[in-house]
Every structure is written in structure tokens, then in C-alpha cells.
């Protein structure tokens, strides 16, 4: 129904334009029109020519003079916010402030590669700058505010679903695009016009929006299950920017439809008119029905809201439904990426005071503290040269404290008839441990295996709220794919260890496998594979406990524990309290596993 080779995106009827690359270029242009109002864009793509092409197009369309800066992934707060300019300070003998990256990018765009790995503190600072348009500096003995009206281009290079840009940041960025499926050949068409952007910027303030469009955006957001009120607000600004770009001073329906595509659709957590996502099973025929009645009905007969929704639906990724049936809302999926990053930030340790030190021994010099130590002596030391004299005695180093975090991984056999009871007790034990965990800042994860495979039900977390939500949907029954469970536990424990945290694994099973890795039934093959998986796990040298939950403890589980180099605990009638006791006693979630790594 649309032109096979659309050269100019703007001449097309908006609701038919679903080509991701063209949407991406439109988003780039709109962002150039109102960078401050729209906050920015999140682009999921691998580093490569497609992404570079998009960035180049975006740079081209930005009117000249707008700074574009890259955000180095490990930028420190001092460089982001600004602080003491060391060279100038030492040279002049008085503190000289230095502007940070945020303030230096005022009126421009910050490009953040590997945005999914930004430290939470960096994310918070970016968010604050987007919100207020300024940075508050309270460090190095300085205090002040700098103007920093920025937009953020977050380049999301995440591979797995578990990663993703931190939710507080992505909530503030108007657009989200997925370019992973775009091939380089598709990117050649389309050149953007910075002149048009310049004109649009002038016109932007005068663009009027009728109330019905605003209502349509709000209603659309509700129908798509978008909770945040930033979404309709950003949608409104998108519509306005698009109208300005088209040279109009009134927002029209096509603008709103585009806004729904660009802003609302990527945030959707449900298909309109389906059950809320908590229900886990939205009727799959819904979108099909909508599509079926589409061509016959005249567009004008439908209320505005429906047409806006239709536009949004056209670009909602097809696998959303699948994601929803798996009970994984977009929000939840990206939230867990954040947890891991917190762990990463912790690994380098946090500053815990200052001690006398020597940079030649590899200590990390704390410049401010060193200067403070040197300051009182300046009168005595220098002969009026006006320069600061620093002696070895003045050197101060930052001491880092590295809390060693424990992640306790529960691997629960959710198969068979006793599963329901066992599951309930395991859930209880997880929650009991979690209740302690937030005091100690330890984490808990849960893997369940049943039927044909294993599933990570609760990625490592210390949030009671999240844990409860994940555990609520835990079902039982089916066969015992023990090998799959052990494999997944090994993989998770390994990734936890790589993050610098200490894993501890708790198996709750009777050790009787009857489903092989490929999902086929058969006791012999399954048992053999379970033993293989167990010895592979044992080779990882991981602290682990196997709790035998069968009514009459048997040798199978004990042999398995032996292969895994795990402690064997027969607890036939364990309840939540006993389980969490056992785990604590085995030293895996001990009362205070913190150490100071110098």
C-alpha cells in the first residue's frame, strides 16, 4: 500500500511509515529541532556502520555550533561535573575551577556509548541535568551551578534482554529505536536538511496544540500500559516539533500519530484492549483482529484515539506479545541490568577516607587532600614565589573499601508432585534471606527447573519488591531436567563471580533426574547428564550446598553433591525458616561477609 521506494519520509502518510531506518532519521531530525525538550534518544544497535551512519546524519542535521561530546564510559564525577583544575591551581596558588563535561556541552548533545553499562551515579547525574538544565557542583570544596542544557544520545549495545539502559534515564529520553535489524544497504537513502531544522526551531514556540490531541496522547499512553507521565509529555513535544518541521503552526493528526510511533510505542507494556500484563496471558488474537478490520473501515470513522493507537501499534515490535506472555515486562527486564552495574561499580570499591600515602607505591593520590595537607605550610616553605610547594610528607592517598558482596543462588527443583510444597518453602527461604540481605547489601537469585528446562526466575537482586513479584508467578509440576538446572546455575554463578561478587549456590532437589538436556524423557540419559553437569560444576570450585528434599534421603543426591563438591544436607521436611538457617549456617550468606580489600 505504500510506495516501494520512499525517497522523502515527510511526503508519506505517517501511519504507513514503519521502516525503522526512516523512523530513525525522522527521530534524528526531530531531536535536532528540540533537543532540550525531548531529552534525547536511546538507540539499540551494535557498534558498526549503521550506527555510525545514523550518528553522522544526526550530526549533519544539527545546526552548526551545537556541541556534540562523547561520554567516556568510565568518566569520573569530577570530569562530569567539573571540579578543581589541578594544573591551574598549583600554578596560581589558588583554587581554579574547571568546567565539567556536562557544562561544556551546554546547548548540545552528549553521546553515551555503552549506555547500558553506565554507573548508576553517572545515570543520576545525566538525569538531573536533563531535568533541571543545570549541574550542581558540590565537591572539592567548591559549590556552584553551571548551565547544562543537554540532550543525551544513549547508544545501547546490550545483547541479552537482561541488560539495557537504566530505566530512570530511558524514561527521560523521548525516543527509543532498535537498529540491530537494519542492514547497511538500507541506510544510504535520505539526506537531512539542517536549514529546515533551523527554521523549525524558530517556529517551535508558536506551535499550538488542540486539547483533543493532548487527550489522545494521554489515552494512548494509558491503553499501551505506559505508566510514566513523561511519555505523553514527550509525545506532545514530539508532535509540536514535527509540526514546526513541516512549517505549520498547528499540530495535526499526522504529528500526533508520529509521536505515538516514536514515543509511546517503544514504551508499550501491553497491546491496547488486552488484559493488563500482570495477567501474563493477553489474548493473542487481539492485534490480528484489529488489523483485520482496518482496511475496510474508513479512517475518519474511528475516533482519534484509535487512530493514534493504530499508528503506535504499527511499530510495536512483534515479539512484544511473546515477551508479555513470558511475564517479562519491558520495565522489569531492563531493571535487572542495573543491578549488575551496581555490583560493578562496587568492585572498584568506594572511597573510605584518606590516609598518608605515596603515589610511587601505587597509592591513588588524593589531590585535594594533599593540597589541604600542604596548605598550612605554604608561608613557611615558599620564598614568596607564589607557587605551591608540596612535599612528600603531604601526599595523601584515597583508601578504597571493597565490600565483597555475596550472591546466593537458589536452584529449586520445581518438578513432580511434592513441588508445590517445596516451592513454597523455597520461596519463603528466599524472602527470609532477602529480608536480611538489604541490611547487609547481599543479593539473592532463584533458578527453577521443571518440565523441559531451567528458568532464571529471579536475577540477582536485593529488592524485596522485585523478588516478591517474580516469586509470585512461580509454578510447579512436570519432569526433572536436573542437568539443565545445574548448567544454568553454573553459568549464573560464573557470571556473578566475574562481576567481582561471591556466589553461593543452594540446590533443593531429590537428585532424581528424568529429563535430558534436549528435553527428552529417560532416566538413564538424564541421570548421566546430571552427573556430568555436576562434575563440571564441581570443577568451578564454588561454595555450594545440596539440600536433599526427598522424604527418604537416598544415595543419588549424596553422590551428586559429592560430584559438585557441595555440602550434602538431607532435610526431608524443611520449612522456610529451617532452610534459611541451613544456608546461613553453611556460611554462604553469613552474617557479615564483608572484607576490606586494601
Amino acid at each position: 500500500m505504500s510506495d516501494p521506494a520512499p525517497p522523502d519520509p515527510r511526503s508519506e502518510p505517517v501511519s504507513d511509515r514503519t521502516d525503522p531506518w526512516e523512523l530513525a532519521l525522522t527521530a534524528a531530525t526531530l531531536l535536532a529541532v528540540d533537543p532540550r525538550g525531548l531529552g534525547g534518544i536511546r538507540i539499540r544497535a551494535h557498534a558498526g556502520p549503521v550506527r555510525d551512519e545514523w550518528l553522522a546524519s544526526f550530526r549533519d542535521v544539527l545546526p552548526g555550533g551545537d556541541p556534540v561530546r562523547r561520554l567516556p564510559i568510565h568518566i569520573g564525577e569530577d570530569r562530569l561535573l567539573g571540579g578543581l583544575d589541578l594544573a591551574a591551581t598549583l600554578g596560581s596558588g589558588r583554587p581554579v575551577a574547571e568546567r565539567g563535561l556536562l557544562a561544556a556541552t551546554d546547548g548540545g548533545v552528549i553521546v553515551a556509548p555503552m549506555a547500558e553499562r553506565l554507573a548508576p551515579a553517572t545515570v543520576a547525574l545525566l538525569c538531573a541535568a536533563i531535568d533541571t538544565g543545570e549541574v550542581a557542583v558540590e565537591r572539592d570544596g567548591m559549590s556552584g551551578r553551571d548551565v547544562a542544557r543537554i540532550a543525551v544520545v544513549a547508544l545501547d549495545e546490550s545483547v541479552s534482554e537482561d541488560e539495557g539502559v537504566a530505566p530512570p534515564l530511558s524514561d527521560r529520553l523521548a525516543f527509543a529505536l532498535d537498529l540491530t535489524a537494519v542492514s547497511h544497504r538500507e541506510t544510504l537513502a535520505g539526506s537531512l536538511d539542517p536549514e529546515a531544522v533551523r527554521d523549525a526551531r524558530h517556529r517551535l514556540a508558536d506551535v499550538q496544540v488542540e486539547d483533543r490531541f493532548l487527550e489522545a496522547l494521554c489515552a494512548g499512553a494509558l491503553a499501551l500500559g505506559v505508566d510514566s507521565l513523561r511519555a505523553p509529555l514527550l509525545g506532545l513535544r514530539t508532535a509540536r516539533a514535527h509540526a514546526a518541521l513541516e512549517g505549520r503552526d498547528r499540530v495535526e493528526e499526522s504529528d500526533v500519530a508520529l509521536a505515538a510511533q516514536l514515543v509511546l510505542a517503544p514504551r508499550a507494556t501491553q497491546f491496547p484492549a488486552s488484559e493488563p500484563p500482570q495477567d501474563a496471558e493477553p489474548p493473542p488474537e487481539d492485534p490480528a483482529e484489529d488489523a483485520a478490520e482496518d482496511p475496510g473501515q474508513g479512517e475518519t470513522e474511528k475516533p482519534l484515539e484509535d487512530r493514534v493507537l493504530k499508528a503506535a501499534e504499527a511499530v510495536i515490535p512483534a515479539d512484544l506479545l511473546e515477551a508479555l506472555t513470558r511475564g517479562r515486562m519491558i520495565r522489569g527486564a531492563s531493571a535487572s541490568g542495573r543491578r549488575g552495574q551496581t555490583g560493578k561499580a562496587k568492585r572498584r570499591g568506594r572511597p573510605a577516607g584518606v590516609v598518608r600515602g605515596d603515589p610511587r607505591r601505587g597509592d591513588r593520590l588524593n589531590v585535594i587532600a594533599t593540597l589541604r595537607a600542604a596548605a598550612p605550610w605554604q608561608r613557611l616553605r615558599d620564598g614568596g614565589s607564589g607557587r605551591v610547594v608540596v612535599k612528600v610528607d603531604d601526599f595523601r592517598a584515597t583508601r578504597f573499601k571493597q565490600p565483597v558482596e555475596t550472591v546466593t543462588i537458589f536452584v529449586v527443583d520445581a518438578s513432580g508432585s511434592s513441588a508445590l510444597h517445596r516451592l513454597a518453602e523455597a520461596k519463603g527461604a528466599v524472602e527470609l534471606l532477602l529480608a536480611d540481605c538489604y541490611v547487609r547489601r547481599d543479593q539473592v537469585a532463584l533458578i527453577a527447573f521443571r518440565g523441559e528446562g531451567a528458568e532464571l526466575l529471579l536475577p540477582p537482586t536485593r529488592s524485596l519488591v522485585r523478588a516478591k513479584r517474580s516469586l509470585a508467578g512461580l509454578a510447579g509440576g512436570g519432569g526433572t531436567p536436573l542437568a539443565a538446572g545445574i548448567d544454568m546455575a553454573a553459568a549464573l554463578a560464573d557470571s556473578v563471580r566475574r562481576r567481582g561478587q561471591t556466589p553461593g549456590v543452594v540446590f533443593l532437589t531429590d537428585g532424581r533426574a528424568n529429563i535430558a538436556r534436549d528435553g527428552s524423557p529417560g532416566r538413564a540419559a538424564a541421570g548421566e547428564q546430571a552427573r556430568q553437569a555436576a562434575s563440571a560444576f564441581g570443577a568451578l570450585d564454588m561454595a555450594s550446598v545440596l539440600i536433599d528434599t526427598s522424604p527418604r534421603p537416598q544415595s543419588e543426591a549424596a553422590a551428586l553433591a559429592d560430584a559438585m563438591a557441595a555440602r550434602y544436607l538431607p532435610l526431608p521436611h524443611a520449612d522456610s525458616a529451617a532452610l534459611s538457617q541451613a544456608v546461613r549456617a553453611s556460611g554462604m550468606a553469613g552474617p557479615s561477609p564483608r572484607r576490606v580489600a586494601s
Partner: protein
């Protein structure tokens, strides 16, 4: 600083607004914790509070916001000058504690400039001094570094800031109202810190279309014309400010009858809250509410209205119980006040 969004123009979120106004009337209530999802207007509301507060008296030239009539007068170096102190009126401070703040900026440190250029040892007050007798706002309080949390707990308990570093020894008043906000899904708060907040409120996104449209419209109007929007809401703002000033004056005259005290105590016992802080906060908040509404004495209606905020975060947690604290409180309130 950029013009903040007017407090009175915020749609809905009544519990949060009430909580903030109560602490503005009676700072001894001890702070508000705002928990909720993203995009619910937490930060907007707290920042709007600053514009609403009446001015306070302080000593001219004092770097620690000392009260001219206060007990600490004369103890801090700023007020030790000769002659009678000159009192001036300044806005009540609402200080942001940014997430990246370093310890030296929070507690204060040696003034580098003075030290380097004059060789003089002088203390430069930090954010705690700035926020003395005002509000300290911590966004994303659950992401705050542990050592800063410890520091804040200490200051909140003692009401003063004791600095012993870089050869300096300074003591100054730091009575401040902590206002924290955060999203519980991104991390839990330490129980000790939780307990320091007098009130805790939960905010959610409104789900009905009309309210949502109104919120987006006002926000958009504001972004497009900050001055005009603020001018349009000026009368409502000053009305609200007058209400707070009046309530502050009336506060000491509000009676708390024994019956109300017993009610509060009985209620806390049935909920099984830890410690006495819950009762104290409950009574203080109810008194502030009575003052705000121009009532002469605290009655059941006031206690009932503030009880959820005052006690929600003090319930002993049973991790196996799925019922939220709010629901438990509401249930018990029904029982307690039915009789």
C-alpha cells in the same frame, strides 16, 4: 536558579503534598520519605516546596544560619562578632544533596583558597551548615553511599555537626528536615535511615485519563512559559504560604487531649511498631494538621488522616506477608476507629 514549578499547580499527590506541608508547619516531625515510581512528580513537588516557605530570621554574616534567639547563638565563629547581632530575614533553605556529593562538601572542610593564598586555617561550611533550620533534599536516597548515610544519621540524631578533620575542630548546629525520594525497586533503604524519616508517603501515577491530561497540560504550559505560568498561580501560592505561616503560629496553641494521646498509643501498640518514635510522630503530625486546618484540638479525624504516613515505614516487616504496609494500616484503622 530556574523558576520552580508552583506547588499549588501540582495535580493530585495529596498525601505527599500534605506530608511536606506538615513538616513545614512543624519541622520536629522529622522529615518526609517519598517512595514511588519514576515520573510521578516526586522531585518536582519537593523542589516546589522551597518557593512556598515563609522567610526565617537569622544573623547577618553568619555562615551557619544561626537563629538570633536560638540557644547556639555565640557558639559558632560566625556570630562571635562584637556588638549586638543584626537579624535579617532570609528564605528557609532547601538544599539539594546531589548524588555525587563528596563527604567534604557535606560536612564542610578546610577552605582551600584561604589556606593556599593566606596560609590561614579557616573552615568552609558544607551542605549541612547550609541546610541548618531548613530542608535537605536527597533524590534517589536509596542509592546514597553508605558513608554519607552514616553521617546523615549521626547529624539527624544529634542536631549538630561536629567536624574534626585537617586540623580543624568545628561544631555547628545542623537541625534539618530530611526529605528523601526514591524508587523502592532500585534498592532498599537501611532500616536505621528509614526510621529517621518522620513521615513516609507513597506516590503512584494517577490512572484516570482526565487527571493525566491535566498534569501533562500544566507541565507543558509551564515549560513553554515559566514566568507567565508562575504569575498565573501566584495568588494560590501566596494563599498557601499564608496558611502555613498561620499554622506555625497556631501550633503551640493546639491542644492534644489525653484521649487523643491514648488513642495514638493504643493504635501503635496494636500495630506493633518498634519504639516510641512512631507515637511521637503520629501526635506531632496530627497536631500540625489541626493547626493547618484551624482546629483548636487534635481529634480522631486528624490522627486517622496522618496515621498511614506516620507509621507505614515503622511496621515490623514480615517478609512472608504479601499484604502491603498501607493495607495493613488501613485495616487496623478501620477496626480502631470503628469503636
Amino acid at each position: 536558579m530556574a523558576l520552580p514549578f508552583p506547588f499549588s499547580a501540582i495535580v493530585g499527590q495529596d498525601e505527599m503534598k500534605l506530608g511536606l506541608m506538615l513538616t513545614a508547619v512543624d519541622p520536629t516531625i522529622g522529615g518526609v520519605l517519598v517512595l514511588g515510581e519514576r515520573g510521578t512528580g516526586k522531585s518536582t513537588t519537593v523542589r516546589a516546596l522551597a518557593a512556598l516557605l515563609p522567610p526565617m530570621r537569622t544573623i547577618a554574616g553568619c555562615r551557619y544560619n544561626c537563629d538570633p534567639d536560638g540557644p547556639l547563638r555565640g557558639e559558632c565563629e560566625g556570630c562571635r562578632g562584637e556588638g549586638p547581632p543584626k537579624a535579617i530575614k532570609v528564605p528557609i533553605p532547601v538544599v539539594d544533596l546531589p548524588l555525587g556529593a563528596t563527604e567534604d562538601r557535606v560536612v564542610g572542610a578546610l577552605d582551600l583558597e584561604r589556606a593556599l593564598s593566606h596560609g590561614e586555617k579557616r573552615f568552609e561550611p558544607g551542605l549541612l551548615a547550609k541546610a541548618h533550620r531548613g530542608f535537605l533534599y536527597i533524590d534517589e536516597v536509596n542509592l546514597l553511599e553508605d558513608h554519607l548515610v552514616d553521617l546523615l544519621l549521626d547529624v539527624a540524631a544529634s542536631g549538630e555537626n561536629l567536624v574534626e578533620r585537617e586540623g580543624l575542630s568545628v561544631r555547628h548546629g545542623a537541625r534539618l528536615v530530611l526529605v528523601g525520594s526514591g524508587n523502592p525497586e532500585e534498592g532498599e533503604l537501611r532500616p536505621q535511615l528509614l526510621d529517621r524519616f518522620g513521615l513516609s508517603v507513597e506516590v503512584t501515577t494517577p490512572q484516570d485519563l482526565k487527571t493525566r491530561v491535566e498534569i501533562v497540560r500544566r507541565r507543558d504550559d509551564f515549560e513553554r512559559d515559566r514566568e507567565g505560568f508562575s504569575a498565573a498561580w501566584k495568588r494560590k501560592e501566596s494563599g498557601l504560604r499564608r496558611k502555613i505561616v498561620k499554622a506555625r503560629e497556631a501550633l503551640s496553641d493546639v491542644e492534644v487531649p489525653d484521649a487523643a494521646l491514648e488513642r495514638a498509643a493504643g493504635f501503635c501498640m496494636s500495630l506493633g511498631t518498634d519504639g516510641l518514635r512512631g507515637e511521637l510522630t503520629l501526635v506531632r503530625a496530627a497536631r500540625a494538621l489541626a493547626a493547618l486546618e484551624g482546629r483548636p484540638a487534635v481529634g480522631d479525624a486528624e490522627l486517622r488522616r496522618v496515621a498511614p504516613s506516620a507509621l507505614r515505614h515503622r511496621l515490623r516487616r514480615d517478609p512472608l506477608d504479601d499484604v502491603s504496609s498501607t493495607v495493613r494500616i488501613e485495616r487496623l484503622l478501620e477496626e480502631a476507629f470503628a469503636a
